[in-house]
Amino acid sequence: MPVKKGILFIVLIFGLLTLSACKKPVASTFNFYEYMDTFISISLYAESESDAEIMKQEIEDIYSMYHELTNNYEDLSFGSTYKENIFTINQKINEDIEIDQELYEILEEAIRLNILTDGYFDISIGKMVDVWKDVISNDVDGYMHNEVPESVFQGILDDLVDIEVVEEPFILTETDGKYYVRLTHEDVKLDLGALSKGYATQVVYDYLIEKGVEYFSITAGSSSISIGKKIDRKTEMFHISLANPVESGQTYGMIYVQNKAINTSGNFEQYFLYKGLRYHHVISPKTKMPAQFYHTVTLVGEDAGTLDALSTALFSMNEEAFEAFITNHQEELNLEVIRFNYDETVSTYLIDTVFEEF
């Protein structure tokens, strides 16, 4: 009798194991058009359809929240539960404004990244960015991809002279569990465009990891990708092509990665031309101008928010400053770089990621 029971037990265990092994993960893809002016697409393998549905809702809530909090061109939506957003903060100079903890934390992160990059990442230069963006992509008289006349270019420079880059553009304070921000100067206009997308993507990444999801990809626009492992490939590596910034539709290389964030800053989507050089929308806080050192800077690393900000900052650094940054921070940030230079050569600063140039 005990022998039979033992056999029954073994059969039961074995059966359970086979059953659980047979349980196939469910593939799901969620697409969002509504947040951060970006097409966001998430593909993942969940344990069940209902699990995937819950994750979809929670992921949408994350992007929706950061979209609303960091929006710098319109007021909070009617009946919003949030205290302020970047647009409403920008209307009030020299005033302590109470904000939500989530917005406070992203602004804290912006300060950390400003210090890390020695001022090359600066969210307070929105007024300068506006001057450039208006000439690049204004609907009525924007010069997207076209040569700008000398008078218009001079007009930009004249506008920029009057706008100051402020040393301490905003101050954060926390008292009694309440969070405040104060803009310190009338030339300050906050713009989280180079951080919010990556920041929210990292929050989603951490959420998926916490939920035990292993096989997934998050793409927020064509510039920012965060990935887990690739399910239907033996190596479980994603193959990511790098777009050639000078030959539309072509790629110049491929990287093989998993459990990473990848971010590219480039000059090839929105720009105008002046005397043959591309003037794009990544504005250097050091010169108030778009820099022409590189066509694209692609970063591979750990944190999508940090990478978003760093790719912007590195884009404005000349080669010397760029190299110094890599020397000082590559190890601590586990940061890798593939750079497409203005002379169409490619420079790499890699640790263990495999890069194949075509």
Partner: protein, 157 residues
């Protein structure tokens, strides 16, 4: 002596053939493996992960998979494929005075390219992207996008 020569000749021919075979395979492999041109472009509408229309540049065909749900005020169905003008017209989600606006996509088989030639939105980002042979065209407020299928990576950054 003569048979020796014949044998040498045969060897040479064999080696020659091998070289041609190897070279041919190499050329063919290069052509197939490093062909950058996309063979397909898919048009997507809304949150769907299935294409609504596919453009096959190799077969030079355009295939519609399903119709959009369209308000009763519109008399025709969407998408509309016009093979003479080489256009695909969809109904976007961007509205003016409550009326949904059309998005017109033009394709070109010879150039293996796609371009958004008409669309209503605040900044007209997607129609100003120009002609694409690989870069995705995304019309955010209209919730319509065109993506190329390439034999390269899983994603492009």
């Amino acid at each position: 002596m003569k048979s020796m020569n014949n044998q040498k000749k045969r060897d040479l021919i064999l080696i020659g053939l091998l070289f041609i075979l190897l070279g041919g395979t190499f050329v063919l492999f290069n052509m197939l493996a490093f062909k950058d041109d996309a063979a397909l472009a898919h048009v997507y509408y809304g949150n769907s992960t299935d294409p609504i229309v596919s453009i096959d540049f190799t077969k030079q065909t355009v295939e519609k998979f399903y119709d959009q749900e369209v308000p009763a005020t519109f008399t025709s169905t969407f998408p509309v494929i016009d093979e003479n003008l080489q256009t695909i017209t969809l109904l976007g989600d961007y509205t003016i005075n409550g009326v949904r606006q059309i998005v017109v996509i033009q394709y070109n088989f010879e150039r293996r390219s796609v371009q958004i030639i008409q669309e209503e939105s605040p900044n007209n980002i997607c129609s100003r992207e120009g002609e694409s042979t690989g870069w995705p065209l995304i019309c955010l407020p209209n919730r319509i996008r065109v993506e190329f299928v390439t034999n390269q990576g899983d994603f492009t950054v």
